[in-house]
Amino acid sequence: MVEPEAQDIESLFEAPPIAEQERMVEAILFATEQPVTVAELNARMPHGCDAAEALQLLKKRYDGRGVGVVKVGDGWAMRTAADLSFLMQKETVETRKLSRAAIETLAIIAYHQPVTRSEIEEIRGVSVSRGTVDQLLELEWVKFGRRKMTPGRPVTYMVTEEFLDHFGLESARDLPGLKELRAAGLLENRPPPGEPLSSEDEDEENQVDMFEDED
């Protein structure tokens, strides 16, 4: 008695063509928040569908594409191809002004190189934090110079090629001297007479050049 009825229903709701079933699996895998098992697929798809077969077709279709059908535990999910993971990173570059402490430290290194940390502190009048120098080293604007032949043999700092490049200088000698800075209106006050550079001048011929226009 029941047999013919069941047949009727089956013919009434014929399973959609396999290509259509593949579309269904595709949409479900795309939109579902968790991996989906074959049983779940079958439960959600119209009567008579063969989710397992549709899934295999879909898997084949995505073979070598930017996205793939992968098995996760008991379920299936779509994932971007592993070789394209580099695209899933978005690099944002943020430009920030260097801090005043860093600029001052950098300026001292540029004008007085090779210079030790204690000399930098002497000139700045405040202690130089480790972070400041590290930042300059990291930026590759500053490098270690030779050790100084004074007690404790402290390391010295110098500016790098990268630094010259960034600031459009051919050499550190091209940095304007105090007189030029003053002429450019960057120096408003005269330094106290006879005070400043004496001690540093011994270190390096360069600096004598650089500041020879000093009185």
Binding site: A27, F30, A31, T32, E33, Q34, A77, M78, R79, T80, M88, Q89, K90, E91, T92, V93, E94, T95, R96, K97, L98, R100, A102, I103, E104, L106, A107, I108, A110, Y111, I123, R124, G125, V126, S127, Q135, L139, F167, G168, L169, L175, P176, L178, L181, A184, L186, L187, E188, N189, R190, P191, P192, E195, P196
Partner: protein, 260 residues
Amino acid sequence: MPDGDAEFDDVDARLGAEALIVDVDGYEGPLDLLLTLSRTQKVDLRRISVLALAEQYLAFVNRAKTLRIELAADYLVMAAWLTFLKSRLLLPPDPSDEGPSGEELAAHLAFQLERLSAMRDAAAKLMARDQKGRDFFVRGIPEDVTRVRRVRYTATLLDLMQGYARLRTKEDFRPYSMERQNVMTLEQALERMRGLIGYAGDWTDLMSYLPDGWEADPKRRRSATASHFAASLELVKNGTIQIRQTESFSPIQIKALLNG
């Protein structure tokens, strides 16, 4: 609702009044009511008889008034305006009158009704569209893009020169700067003590932590003592050490707290 209340003449009147209350509540303002009334004319909104519409509206308002229904002010403003419009439409145009003609006013009202009606249709069409999350769906397992934030520091040559100029001219006018050689900062003392404290298993006089060369000169000793004392308080706060003073003016002693 108790039966037998004879406020109204008959049941019909009461039901009618209630229906009207519901109706007025249901209308979103006079324009909405007018649009509904105009639909009874069953013609293109551009061809409706504004005169007939005005009469229908006024009849509605009058009925509401006799039933003592509170009508919002804008219903009454509209009624007044429609009465004015009606008079303009009925009377022959006065050539000396400067205002807009009755036809112009009527045409504008028809335009407003048509526009409102069009917007209602548009809204209905919009809501009938396939909607995200109902008819079509987004990726269920979005793969987050990891943001790699790179900070690029910049400085110009001018910054550099200004910075240097600032330094080289500082000696000339430095309002707040102190003679640094005789001052020990809290940070310096803290750094020193962090290095030394590990060895202090027993109560030790704080003064013994002062660095060489700072005990003799009173100026330097004061600064070093103060900074070391402040630093030790900081370390107590961190739970690194304990501090004690047995009586007033007696030596301050500290001791490392051994964890575990």
